[in-house]
Amino acid sequence: MDFIPSTDDEQFRQEVRSFLREHLPSDLAWRGQQGYLPGKEDSLRWTRILHEKRGWSAPAWPREDGGTGWAASQRYIFEEECYLAGAPIPNQAGIDLVGPVICHFGNTEQKKRFLPPILRGEVFWIQGFSEPGAGSDLANLRTTAVRDGDSYVVNGQKIWTSFGTQGDWNFLLVRTDPTAKPQKGISFLLLDTHTPGVTIRPIVSLDGCGHLAEVFYDNVRVPVENLIGEENKGWGYTKFLLFNERALLGAESPALKRYLAKIRRYASCQRAGDRPLIEDPAFAGRLAQYELEVLAIDMMVQKILHQGVNELNGGAAIGSMLKVRGSEMHQKLTEMLVEIIGDYGPVFYPSPAEEQTEHEQSFVGPDFAPGLAAELFYRRACTIYGGTAEIQRNIIAKALFGL
């Protein structure tokens, strides 16, 4: 242990910075700095740029599948710099979730067919796990797939599918053996959302955006070659995926650092009476507390990145612990961002259409006000998605103490 950042890492950070300066289009960065979630076009466009310029579109994948071969610390630096520069979040369901599953469990055919379009930013994936009756209790899912010749026939419904209405491809969990124990009869399928029988209905959420959806499957035929791994073994692949989602992405700590940077910047120019808000002792005290929490999270994330998850550094609990505290901080920091704009906090700013640039909008208040409230509402969900805060605590208590 020495806590000295490696010079390689610092050099790498400079390299990423200059790449972003050169290649991140300013309209993407402007929309990214606002709080609205990026839409499909922005996400894919950025992936295309990363892929074409440097082959950086899926850093965490194995090298032979198109990954970068970066060390974990470099991946983290990359993500952090992208966030700070306002780069759009790529299609996580594709790059972070189904991609690694295909890399690890897919056959050669599937890798050849599905991975390159993800790398090239050509397809947008959506995640179909949750159902109306199967949220926290995911294993209770009821959507069925029945083998019929060389197809599965899928019937049922998914809900809370992020970016559902924009999805080209959908990976989903289906029940293939209704007689087996809940976890035993589940399979992992890949489905083209344009297949007949798929209906997608948007759900408007509190942030005013329609990025969630319900997906209905009515006798949808999926070719058997779109099954990942073996039939009825889907739960195992899912655990792998959820573990990735939690341990590596759960705290979303680069986003936390971006919030802190924004808070400092905005609170220095927003005034309360005769002084900038940042000079207000109550405000500054609260910010100090939040910043310390984030610094602690960040340090632990770096440790995990260097060591990998093992029994000595928290084992199965660490990802959940980081997610619980991280998501609480997302909520506190986005609330603070809205507080900073004072009288403009209550204003509803409709989300800008994609392709819109900063000069085409007119609104009251400071130019960074739009998007902050949308982000605050969106972040109410971060103690719900990817496993609720209560479920994470159950996991922690069980993993650490056998309770």
């Binding site: 809900i159 759900i203 408007v204 959420s205 809205v338 204003v347 208040g365 509402f377 719900i384 209560e390």
Partner: protein, 387 residues
């Protein structure tokens, strides 16, 4: 101290609750936001018919002459029902300003119109850098040679301005930006030349606007009461509005808790109702404790507002807002959490209470501001003791 409602108070409370249950369904509210601009004049007239708009108006001006307790009863029920029409901003606040700042002769006509629901009055008090400080007024009122006044400045977050027939504008006729002396209030017609209304919606769909005043010339009769002496009346009016807002939050918290209690009994996961999980039982218990605290603090606010001998009323009201909004933040956020995905949808009622809380926290200064103001009271008392 009597904590029981009188027969009359109970009837008032029932009348609002019945109206909201019967005529202000969540679906009609959603429609109101989608196609009705977030405000219904018809509903406002119903408020008038029911006497709720008359409630805070003095009997001498044809009103019911009720005090803050009765208006809080009304506000609480409206908050429970997520009612959009801004009772606090267009009834409690402007009436209190008229009561506290204007001369007798001015009151009668305007208050009659407000009580009947015909005249909707919005209040332009805040400015971007005020952040809750009532004396922060940089909008200028300059007296011209002909005795008229010219108004110049920018007023932020004027709730209901786009639908208002008249607007009470707080401006400075003398002194420095945060001086208490030198504040004057003018009644203006939003159609007057020089008034630019930049309209927008609030997060819950309520119409509001920023007002830009560029040489808005008004006659001397537009001035309420005496020039430069409006501060204490205005502060008192804001205090009344804050307590009314606290009552709305308490009503909202009650609704959230009722919704959760129901949901926990019906939603099944892992083969059982989620209410069987102790983690959630304890959460509900904590929410009930927060509500208890908030209601008790609301009572403190009402007690100080209705006690003519009370001192330092305003800073106690600040304490009231700080605690109630802290409690409401917890309860409304947990309301979403306990509903899982459903909690964050537009289609489901519970999340809208959290949205209201975001508004309530920002209005009249946020939690930091009011806690700090209450801290000032403690410091003053400690200094007095030390001296």
């Amino acid at each position: 101290m009597n904590f029981d409602l009188t027969e009359e108070q109970r009837m008032l409370q029932d009348s609002v609750r019945r109206y909201v249950n019967k005529s202000y369904s969540f679906e009609s509210r959603t429609q109101l936001v989608k196609v009705g601009g977030g405000f219904s004049r018809e509903t406002w007239s119903v408020f008038a018919e029911m006497g709720w708009l008359m409630a805070p108006i003095p009997e001498s001006c044809g009103g019911l002459g009720f005090n803050a307790i009765e208006t809080a009863l009304i506000a609480e029920e409206l908050g429970r029902g997520l009612v959009l029409e801004p009772y606090t901003f267009c009834a409690v606040l402007p009436v209190a300003i008229m009561r506290g700042c204007s001369a007798e002769a001015q009151k009668e006509k305007l208050l009659a119109g407000m009580g009947s629901g015909e005249t909707i009055v919005a209040v332009a008090h805040s400015e971007p850098e005020a952040r809750g400080c009532v004396s922060h007024v940089s909008t200028m009122a300059t007296r011209q040679a002909d005795g008229r006044y010219a108004l110049n400045g920018r007023k932020s977050l004027v709730v209901a301005a786009p639908v208002a027939d008249r607007i009470l504008v707080v401006a400075r006729s003398s002194g420095q930006v945060r001086d208490e002396q030198g504040i004057s209030i003018f009644l203006i017609d939003p159609q007057s030349s020089g008034v630019r209304c930049e309209p927008f919606r609030l997060l819950d769909g309520t119409p509001a606007a920023e007002l830009v005043l560029e040489n808005v010339v008004v006659s001397a009769s537009a001035l309420l009461g005496e020039e430069g002496n409006a501060f204490s009346g205005l502060q008192r009016a804001v205090d009344e509005a804050i307590v009314s807002l606290c009552a709305e939050m308490v009503g909202g918290m009650e609704d959230v808790i009722a919704l959760c209690s129901e949901y926990l009994k019906t939603r099944q996961q892992f083969g059982v109702a989620i209410g069987t999980f102790q983690a959630l039982q304890h959460r509900m218990a904590d929410m009930a404790i927060e509500l208890m605290q908030a209601r008790a603090m609301l009572y403190r606010g009402l007690a100080v507002l209705t006690n003519p001998a009370a001192e330092d009323t305003s800073r106690i009201v600040s304490g009231c807002k700080a605690l109630v909004s802290k409690c409401a933040k917890f309860v409304t956020a947990q309301g979403i959490q306990l509903h899982g995905g459903y909690g964050i949808t537009e289609e489901y009622r519970v999340g809208h209470h959290y949205r209201r809380l975001v508004l309530a926290d920002a209005w009249f200064g946020n939690l930091d501001y009011h806690l700090n103001r209450y801290a000032g009271r403690i410091q003053d008392e400690a200094r007095a003791l030390a001296a």
